[in-house]
């Protein structure tokens, strides 16, 4: 009998975003195809960033205020009949940096039942990227033909992504934001010109580094995300399509010059915005402008989306969708870009990654890891020799350090910590109780590190000569032996020889003796 296709009513979901100046909620309807329609939203200002960037702590009053706001949002959720499974609560830099963040998260959970998910700067990038893509997908002359820069100036951080013909080459999260500027730096200058000079000085180095990742002068698409950019767009730009505005570079400069003359109070009355919105407006636009000037873009594209819509999109997507696959690709591109920055042996790195993934896939039943670990495997394989940039000797340790302190688009801090440990253990010593960066991982994370490192060692061993001689292989288990049946070009005796050492950890972790046949 043919299955009758029943119409599933679109699902209503909510994303709550605890930012550094306000707590916001967006409620949307998502259909099976992953399309969404915004149904409702609310914003309430609360000075979380002011507390944290000044003193490192959230004050009691601010916490209470935040809980009151969230209680209001709970009422909204119940009006829309949204259950806890369909709500995501994310918190960004203010909460992330608060020394008493655990207390806050716990208090919120006890009082409201909402579980806060603190996300990392780079993860923020990933959500913003998803949202931007959704907003500008119908833009003429798509991203894939030119270079683009996506920037979001927030209260605590500024997120920047660089795309080369649609490929993510770098993603950064800088600890510079409007609230931080207001709190930490403002007392030091007297005029807006002085502030601009200060910011320009501060960003000079940053822009130079970025220029090595992507020639900024070649950037044509400059995408400015964030509330301040939207405010500017509504006044100095034109709405080009349903989800974005365009501001001409000259108009933007003009608007900025106009703002430079105004006090915050004057901005409130003249632009008809709230005090909360007016406060960070000028510094935010200055930051956008400094980046804009470094690029070759002639206009700003301002989408009407934010990290919240990114979260909605990620909500709407399963693991199999095209967008998810594309994202996965962007993570890998970003990792390769990091490798290039440290002059890695690209052929070897990519080849080892290919072998490692083949191993991961064929060995799936035995390692039992989830799909996300496969992405970590691939990134770790790409970056395993990155430490050679410092010195060949001990390059696994240098590599760990470099990776742990880098940003890779789409990966959270936790992911990066796992990957840096896999890089650390791709040769030499096994993890020991005296290795703090390993011990500080949670138990399930340590297991992932062990399994990935063990497989990576075998894959690396299969390209010991850096000549890419082993092309493909098949795994076969025979009485405690794992037989690796290789198709290869040329002599692979180096690989055979090397495997004896490389496979020791594998034997330890999985209990199989690895034999190349």
């Amino acid at each position: 009998m043919e299955k009758k296709k029943t119409l599933i009513a679109p699902k209503i979901v909510a994303v709550v975003d605890i930012g550094s100046t306000a707590i916001r909620i967006v409620i949307a309807e998502i259909d099976e195809k992953g399309d969404w329609k915004r149904l409702d939203r609310a914003t309430k200002p609360v000075p979380l960033g002011r507390d944290v960037f000044m003193s490192g702590h959230l004050t009691r009053e601010t916490m209470l205020q935040a809980i009151r706001i969230l209680s209001g949002f709970l009422e909204m959720l119940s009006g829309w009949h949204i259950g806890p499974r369909d709500v995501r609560v994310i918190a960004t830099s203010a909460i992330r940096e608060a020394k008493n963040r655990d207390t806050f998260v716990d208090r919120v959970f006890i009082r409201t039942g909402l579980r806060i998910n603190i996300i990392e700067g780079v993860e923020e990038n990933h959500l913003t990227y998803l949202a931007v893509q959704h907003a500008v997908h119908d833009m003429p002359g798509p991203f894939t033909r030119s270079s683009s820069l996506i920037i979001e100036v927030g209260g605590g951080t500024t997120e920047v992504m660089l795309l080369d013909r649609g490929n993510m080459v770098a993603a950064h999260s800088f600890r510079i934001g409007t609230v931080r500027i207001e709190q930490q730096v403002r007392p030091r200058w007297e005029s807006n010109t002085q502030m601009e000079g200060y910011l320009r000085e501060n960003l000079r180095g940053t822009l130079e580094i970025m220029n090595t990742e992507l020639r900024l002068a070649r950037v044509h698409y400059f995408v400015a995300v964030g509330g301040d950019a939207r405010l500017a767009a509504a006044r100095a730009g034109t709405k080009e399509a349903e989800h974005y505005w365009i501001i001409e570079k000259a108009d933007f400069a003009g608007f900025l010059a106009q703002l430079a003359e105004l006090s915050v109070d004057e901005i409130v009355t003249q632009l008809g915005v709230t005090y909360n919105e007016a406060e960070g407006l000028y510094p935010a636009l200055v930051i956008y402008n400094l980046f804009l000037e470094a690029t070759g873009a002639r206009q700003l594209i301002v989408p009407d989306v934010s990290i919240r819509e990114g979260m909605l999109v990620s909500f709407a997507l399963g693991n199999t969708s095209d967008v998810r696959a594309e994202l996965y690709g962007q993570v890998v591109t970003s990792a390769k870009s990091l490798g290039r920055k440290f002059h890695y042996d690209e052929k070897h790195a990519i080849h080892v990654a290919k072998l490692a993934l083949a191993f991961f896939d064929q060995f799936q039943n035995d390692h039992g890891l989830e799909h996300h670990a496969r992405l970590l495997m691939e990134v770790a394989a790409i970056l395993h020799d990155i430490g050679n940039f410092v010195r060949s000797s001990g390059h696994h340790k240098h590599g760990q350090y470099i990776v742990a302190n880098s940003e890779i688009f789409g990966l959270s801090r936790e992911d990066i910590r796992i990957i840096s440990n896999v890089v650390r253990y791709h040769r030499k010593s096994m993890p020991l109780a005296s290795h703090p960066s390993f011990v500080s991982l949670r138990q399930e994370q340590r297991l992932i590190v062990l399994k990935l490192a063990a497989m990576l060692r075998v894959a690396d061993g299969l390209d010991r000569s850096h000549q890419q001689r082993v092309q493909t292989f098949r795994l076969e288990v025979a009485e405690g032996d794992l037989l690796v049946d290789c198709t290869h070009q040329g002599d692979i005796s180096v690989e055979r020889y090397g495997m004896a050492v490389k496979a020791l950890m594998f034997e330890e972790v999985f209990g199989y003796h690895v034999v190349i046949t």
Binding site: A42, E75, G79
Partner: protein, 723 residues
């Protein structure tokens, strides 16, 4: 006439009329309806009652505020340049004239004619024996037990005399030979008796020989007063009624116990400063004694003839059996687009609906909320309630909805003046039913009228919106002309959602692109639209603005209109009440015309039209053009974008502009002149034209799937069958 001119043109070259005097002029226009011989008798009485109760409110609020300004020295600048003292003086003069006209009309014209028509107010000396006996019994059994005579000491403050409550005052002298009952021999005494509010003031009499005759409670009490003061002789009597300052602010800092704070305000209103005393006798000593005791001066004492307090005569206006003395009934018509027999949800998804009350029935609004209350797909209902009653079907439907598990959010404006008391009562009832009740916003009154219904349908969420110019009150919807707009437009509904989020405290005030909200954006947006009209106006293609509102009192808006007039924009204002703009002055406002419509229905809709270079823009909403609406209230203006509905609104405006039967034109000297049809011209009464239009719409677009036809014919007269 010369007197009137002096009043309004006080300052030569003045740019504004005085607000209070303009308000009084509005009541003169209402009063002029009661002087019309072509208006049915009871309707004329109705207009008189309306004027009376309007003035009660005017004294409690506006006059009180002027008096307080003088007392405290905290003066408010009046754009017309008149000082508070000058205003009080002019008000007192004008009101005295109005009182005189009113009583002449009542005593010499309306009451005698009513008596001829069979509705008789009996003077005590004309009671028959039976009637006397009837009243005697009534007094002994029902009145006497509830009376509380209070003796006052001369020179001491008066005991409680309440606000707007009718009292009788008596001057007493101890009877000779019985002074053992009296402690201070020979002393004169003042006593006050409140006419009990719990007993009907109008007492219908028996033995009336085919007429309806009635006596007044206060007369009965006065005539039996001797029983109240044994041992005394009554040497003088007088009725009086005190009006007090009701413009008391509530302590806005109290939010969680705001209801309690409000109750305290209501309590104190009974004891606040006296503003006016109305009396029925100008001679004798009582007048002087009471004036002193209330700390009033003679200009604040108003002499009325018996009967006092006309506002309670409204009961007579609606007395059954006298239909021939009232307007022919206009049955509110059904909207053809919301047929009873099909789902209101489907109908609204098909098209936007505009309702023009009371020509068209208010029932669809009640139906919308009622059906939402029981509809399983409805998730939530949000609405604002400004002036409504606990017995309102809307309030009941909301209770049902909450009991059915819908999320119901209601913003109740407790500060709606003079309705506070009943608002508190039913708001608390709603709260008990599980409704989320928001008791207003600190320092702002929520005046916007909006309903949002969220319904989860197969294809996703659909939101049903109602936006109006009038309150959600099924009773006033029968007498106030208002527009209601129902739609499912996504963008508008989304913004209404944001509006509710902000007034419910979930969210900061949002930026809106379709709706215009006061106090944040409305004023600047209006000024900008007026300015845009001025900018675009050319001699070949002049700009055009039409606004129909209740009051225009905002100097900035007025200046913007003057400026637009100077740029050639043709401006027509249909303003029911206060208008501070001076029209038709060369060099200032020669392109502005102001008319005012006063008819059987109270004009209440607010409509704004801007020509906008041919791409006309239409807005409706809750806001008048007064500083309080634009700056101290939450108001909503909503666009009408559907071309068919725009056409309809245009024709409504044109109908009002063409009115030459119920309308007055404002002259540059401040005088309102009744517009009459000239010979050969058709007489256009806007309200009757609009009613006919509603009837036509209802009959033309009758739905096809009816179960029976509505046949137009006389009722069947066939003879009964013979066996």
């Amino acid at each position: 006439m010369a007197e009137i001119i002096r009043t309004y043109k006080k300052h030569e070259g003045g740019r504004y009329f005085n607000r209070e005097l303009s308000w009084i002029a509005f009541n003169e226009r209402v009063l002029s309806e009661s002087l019309r011989r072509d208006v049915p008798l009871l309707e004329r009485l109705r207009f008189l009652c309306i004027v009376a109760s309007n003035f009660d409110e005017f004294f409690m609020v506006r006059v009180a505020s002027l008096k307080r300004q003088i007392r405290t020295g905290r003066r408010v600048h009046c754009p017309s340049g008149m000082s508070a003292e000058e205003q009080l003086r002019e008000i007192s003069l004008r009101v005295r004239e109005i009182v005189k006209t009113k009583y002449e009309c009542l005593l010499d014209d309306i009451l005698p004619q009513l008596a001829e028509a069979g509705l008789v107010l009996k003077a005590p000396e004309t009671y028959s024996q039976t009637q006397k006996k009837f009243l005697e019994e009534l007094f002994q059994e029902e009145v006497f037990p509830v009376l509380t005579p209070v003796r006052c000491e001369l020179g001491k403050p008066l005991p409680y005399t309440g606000n707007l409550r009718l009292h009788a005052a008596f001057l007493l002298r101890p009877l000779q030979g019985e002074d053992f009952l009296v402690p201070e021999t020979g002393a004169e005494a003042l006593a006050i008796v409140q006419i009990p509010a719990g007993i009907p003031r109008i007492l219908y009499l028996p033995e009336t020989r085919g007429t309806v005759s009635f006596a007044l409670l206060e007369h009965v009490i006065r005539d039996h007063a001797a029983q109240l003061f044994p041992g005394y002789e009554i040497t003088e009597d007088m009725f009086f009624r005190v009006t007090r300052d009701a413009d008391l602010g509530v302590d806005e800092e109290r939010d969680e116990d705001f209801v309690e704070a409000m109750e305290q305000v209501l309590e104190s209103r009974e004891h606040s400063m006296a503003i006016r005393m109305s009396i029925n006798k100008s001679t004798g000593r009582l007048r002087e004694m009471l004036t002193d005791a209330l700390a009033l001066n003679s200009s604040e004492v108003y002499m009325k003839t018996d009967p006092m307090d006309l506002s309670t005569f409204m009961e007579l206006v609606d007395l059954p059996g006298f239909d021939h003395l009232r307007y022919e009934k206009w049955k509110p018509q059904d909207s053809p687009y919301l047929p009873e027999e099909s789902s209101i949800w489907d109908a609204l998804k098909k098209r936007d609906v505009l309702l023009h009350h009371p020509f068209e029935s208010f029932a669809p609004v009640v139906r919308l909320v009622r059906e939402a209350a029981t509809d399983p797909s409805v998730l939530a209902i949000k609405m604002t309630l400004y002036r409504t009653s606990g017995s309102s079907p809307l309030v009941q439907a909301l209770e049902v909805a909450a009991e059915n598990g819908k999320q119901v959010t209601v913003l109740v404006e407790l500060k709606a003046r003079f309705d506070e008391e009943q608002n508190i009562e039913w708001a608390q009832r709603l709260e008990r039913a599980g409704v989320i009740v928001v008791y207003g916003i600190v320092r702002l009154k929520v005046h916007a009228k909006a309903i949002l219904i969220i319904r989860r349908e197969e294809k996703g969420v659909t939101r049903y919106v109602h936006l109006g110019t009038g309150n959600y009150n099924d009773k006033t919807a029968r007498v106030y002309t208002d527009l209601g707009f129902m739609t499912t437009q996504d963008e508008l509904a989304y913004e209404i959602g944001l509006f509710f989020n902000s007034i419910t405290g979930y969210s900061a005030i949002p930026a809106l692109s379709k709706l215009v909200m006061a106090p944040t954006a409305l004023k600047s947006r209006l000024l900008q639209m007026i300015d845009r009209e001025a900018q675009r106006s050319t001699p070949e293609n002049p700009g055009r603005i039409i606004a129909k509102i209740n009051s225009l009192a905002d100097p900035e808006v007025i200046e913007a209109l003057y400026n637009a007039s100077a740029r050639g924009v043709q401006i027509s204002l249909i303003i029911r009440g206060i208008c501070m703009l001076v029209p038709g002055v060369p060099g200032m406002s020669e392109n502005i015309a102001v008319t005012s419509v006063v008819g059987r229905y109270l004009e209440h809709s607010r409509i704004y039209f801007f020509h906008n270079g041919g791409a006309g823009e239409y807005y409706c909403g809750s806001a008048d053009l007064m500083p309080r609406n634009l700056e101290r209230r939450v108001e909503l203006l909503f666009p009408i974008e559907n071309p068919d509905l725009q056409k309809r609104i245009k024709s409504i405006l044109e109908t009002y502009l063409a009115d030459n039967s119920q309308s007055h034109a404002l002259r540059p000297d401040g005088v309102y002149v009744r517009r009459e049809s000239e010979s050969g011209e058709v007489s256009v009464g806007s309200q009757s034209v609009l009613y006919e239009a509603a009837c036509n719409r209802a009959s033309i677009a009758a739905p096809v799937n009816r179960k029976e036809f509505s046949v137009r014919r006389k009722p069947p007269q066939a003879k009964r069958l013979r066996r």
